[in-house]
Symmetry: C2
Subunit: 343 residues, 2 copies
């Protein structure tokens, strides 16, 4: 159905039906000038926003609109996870291209709603407007974290262990599979990881509540790039062991076809949405000792923080070389004619 048939306010009513939910702290949701909610004493508010632009961050020829809705919210939830927090509310600005129909807009909101329900984040407002060029999405998430538990990028200490959740590389494989026209069903985990990323909110909460995490960041630009961020912000160096980086199984399969090394995927794949974090060695020992109790998830130590003077290095086949980040950097990549996240 054409958008002009339902009009702006008809569309708002349809969106309301998709996203409305209840919460005792939410006083006013979609439909007024703004949303209203109550904050809790003893908690700090988290605010984060991320944009996605058609042709830069996504390509609708291989991205289902419902997945796009999921992902637009998920990438923001991952930022909340990176702070150690709990997401609460989301608002979205969606600029809809002229070839979208009402049903497409509804699919988008349905995808967002599914992601929000899965992670306990409520969509409480937004602005849906028309675009005469591409699709543009901006999501803002409000969350909270207990006073004293928030983790930033800049608290890593010398000799801390550097750790990562999950196994890396799959998102870049998923994108390459989708672009290549390869049968998606042969790489189902990677494709799903790229299209509808899972975020490590539960894991983040376990970490900040049970251990002393000194710094944390989510892997959106690529492992090597995020390592650089933590080192720069914490004013330290580090030494990574390439062999220790956990690599997703489908990466090995795909690397055989693509001819790239599997560690290229593990180091440079963006949109992984795993957590990269540091903790003192004594905390890591604590984890090992109570592992059976907390190990509803696992993580891997991939290296150690060093003094700044020792640089940011990786041990590869017995020799130590500088780590050169090749993750996504917006304006440089565009200049080079690179499109999407990793191509």
């Amino acid at each position: 159905m054409k958008l002009s048939r339902v009009g702006e306010f008809g569309l708002i009513d349809r969106i309301k039906k998709i996203v409305t939910s209840d919460s005792k702290n939410l006083l006013l949701g979609i439909g007024d000038d703004a949303a209203l909610f109550r904050s809790r004493p003893g908690w700090i508010t988290i605010l984060t926003t991320d944009a996605m632009v058609e042709g830069i961050h996504f390509d609708l020829t291989y991205t289902p609109i419902e997945s796009l809705g999921w992902k637009a919210l998920a990438i923001n939830l991952s930022d909340v996870a990176a702070m150690g927090g709990v997401p609460q509310y989301a608002v979205v600005s969606l600029a809809v291209p002229s070839n979208w129909e009402v049903e497409d807009v509804e699919l988008f909101y349905r995808g967002m709603k599914q992601c929000g329900d899965f992670y306990g984040c409520m969509l409480i407002g937004g602005d849906t407007v028309s675009s005469n060029s591409g699709c543009f999405i901006s999501v803002t998430v409000v969350g909270e974290v207990e006073d004293g538990l928030a983790v930033t990028r800049n608290g890593a200490m010398n000799e801390d262990v550097l750790c990562v959740t999950g196994k890396l590389g799959g998102s870049m494989v998923g994108l390459e599979v989708l672009k290549s026209g390869e049968n998606k069903n042969r790489f189902p985990i990677s494709v799903k990881r790229f299209l509808e990323p899972r975020v490590k909110l539960r894991e983040s909460r376990k970490l900040v509540k049970e251990f002393k995490i000194t710094s944390m960041i989510d892997i959106s630009d690529g492992l090597s790039s995020e390592i650089l961020h933590i080192c720069q912000e914490s004013n330290l160096g580090c030494l990574i062991e390439e062999d220790k980086i956990p690599v997703a199984e489908e990466v090995f399969l795909w690397a055989e076809k693509s001819g790239k090394s599997y560690s290229t995927y593990a180091l440079n794949s963006g949109e992984e949405y795993e957590l990269l974090f540091t903790m003192p060695k004594v905390e890591y020992k604590k984890f090992l000792s109570k592992k059976s109790a907390v190990a509803k998830f696992d993580f891997t130590v991939i290296g150690e923080m060093k003094p700044k003077s020792e640089g940011i290095k990786i041990m590869r086949q017995g020799s130590t070389v500088p780590l050169s980040p090749e993750g996504w950097n917006h304006f440089e990549n565009i200049e080079k004619g690179r499109q999407n996240y990793f191509s």
Copy 2:
């Protein structure tokens, strides 16, 4: 300077230098995964977001980029004013077209910063990405309002007076002047009103703190359209007197040239960012009696709320006719080939 020369992280550093400010409640600003701030007990949090799309909401051939930055924030602040609140923090997603240079991005942030400083709202985060089509902007503002003082659209009561701040029509005149190529200096107030709208935050606070305001909305789509919103949400009708609608002086001048009636401007001009609100008659009498004390601003009674069965009407040249809103409705206007807000 080309954006690729400074890169994404160089750009973030430059933006930081423009927008950084201090606040005791802000714990973490631009540069990490998210921003962190403390909320106050006894206050409710307000969350609002608004998008602007090049070619739909603005045209860079006659809009200075610095004004665009001002306006992108101002339209969100106006939503906070419509709730009776105080703005605190803003985040922005900016998708930058390939022909913009570093200096253009800086101008945008400078405009936002000026607006934020003027109204006490701090820019604490955002996402600046590249676009291979037009410019997209989405701003989200967090504000607060005392528990019990928030005003929504749906609380108007039968026989309440319907009031509006300021004088209307100027924004539409400003847009028409800019599009016509007419000398801008002949309509300075209207052009300024369109490009860098002032918002009624101070007025809103006076209203909610000193009077019992039953409903409130800001005029972004046009007076007639906003009247419809209040009536629909409050399940009431109303009777407006056309002669009482305050019209900006330059509207009369421009209407002579354009051949439209001045009331067309007053009723349909969007982006006015005045406040439309209702209050019981007894409250209005209170206002009249203490006018000298509070009248650092004025407002005008333009009509009265009626039972729903009496409809939404306007008294025009002695006869009473239905009020037909012709403000902006996104998808319908686009379908009709209408561009920008009012053309």
